[in-house]
Amino acid sequence: MALKASKLSVGDTHAERLVEDLKRTQIVMYAGASGDYNPVHTDEVFTTQVAGYPSVFAHGMLTMGMTGKMLTNYVGDGRLTEYGVRFTNQVFPGDTLDATATVTEVADGIVALDVSTVNQNGVEVLRGTAKARVD
């Protein structure tokens, strides 16, 4: 269901849990679907012994994709007009992520949102903005 401009106010929020205890297998699924097979996401041996990270970590685009689910659940299917993010911290297997959209403006049939995704330690892993058509 699409949002109604008349029922939206600046500061309104919508929050969802994106994933609890992120599994390596989900990262593998994302690698397979997206075609980004960079071993730092799926190959523990390479990542710890060659790349120098404590473990494999999620594609930034997996976090953006999961956060997109929260957005489309909020604004409705086919309503997004813009969605942009910055990846501010890495996401590792075992992480639990929560995403929040906050209304920053409603004008001319478009809602503007701030978007933020945090991990179980309250560390922001993604922040950005989105716009969507509203009724």
Binding site: G35, D43, V50, M61, G78, G84
Partner: protein, 173 residues
């Protein structure tokens, strides 16, 4: 990245939606999708990233008859990371200690993709800039702008990606 032909297919949309944990039936159930405002299956918002599957030169996919993959086999790494490895959508790619990471991504939706669309993508470099990072040394950012168009030449999605190359792995502290 240049992709001549990115066929948008229902099963690919289903698998992509699963991989981001999105069970919305508009991504897999044709009957349900007919009852929604878009009136049919559409692709989730970040789906153009999967166009990498259709880039014959995508550097982050082992090549069938290629020059050796840099992930582990018998040894921790099969090959040295190459400088030209780039991920789709303009995110910097590459493995190795001071490898590339995806820093930012932005999409502008002119319309939403549907199964049956056949898109092409052309990329052009955008800005580049440098910054001194607290946790990973000197950071070199580079932007690329990718336009996805349909068979009529109409713009469907504009993707602006920023990749960053770090001097050393990001400190986890």
């Amino acid at each position: 990245m240049a992709v001549e032909k990115f066929p948008v297919e229902a099963s690919h949309i289903m698998m992509f939606a699963r991989s981001v944990g999105d069970g919305n039936p508009i991504y897999h159930d044709d009957e349900y999708a007919k009852s929604t405002e878009p009136g049919g299956i559409i692709a989730p918002p970040t789906f153009v990233q999967a166009s990498a599957q259709f880039d014959p030169n995508h550097g982050l996919r082992p090549k069938i008859d290629g020059d050796g993959w840099f992930g582990s086999g018998g040894a921790p790494s099969g090959a040295k990371p190459r400088g030209d490895r780039k991920s789709g959508g303009g995110g910097g790619g590459g493995g190795g200690g001071g490898g590339g990471l995806h820093a930012e991504q932005r999409f502008i939706y002119h319309r939403h993709m549907r199964p049956g669309d056949v898109l092409s993508a052309t990329s052009r470099p955008g800005k580049t800039w440098e910054k001194q990072g607290r946790r990973s040394g000197k950071l070199v950012f580079s932007e690329s702008v990718t336009e996805y168009r349909d068979l009529n030449g109409e713009l469907v999605v504009t993707a602006i990606g920023v990749g960053v190359r770090t001097e050393r792995p990001v400190d986890q502290g």
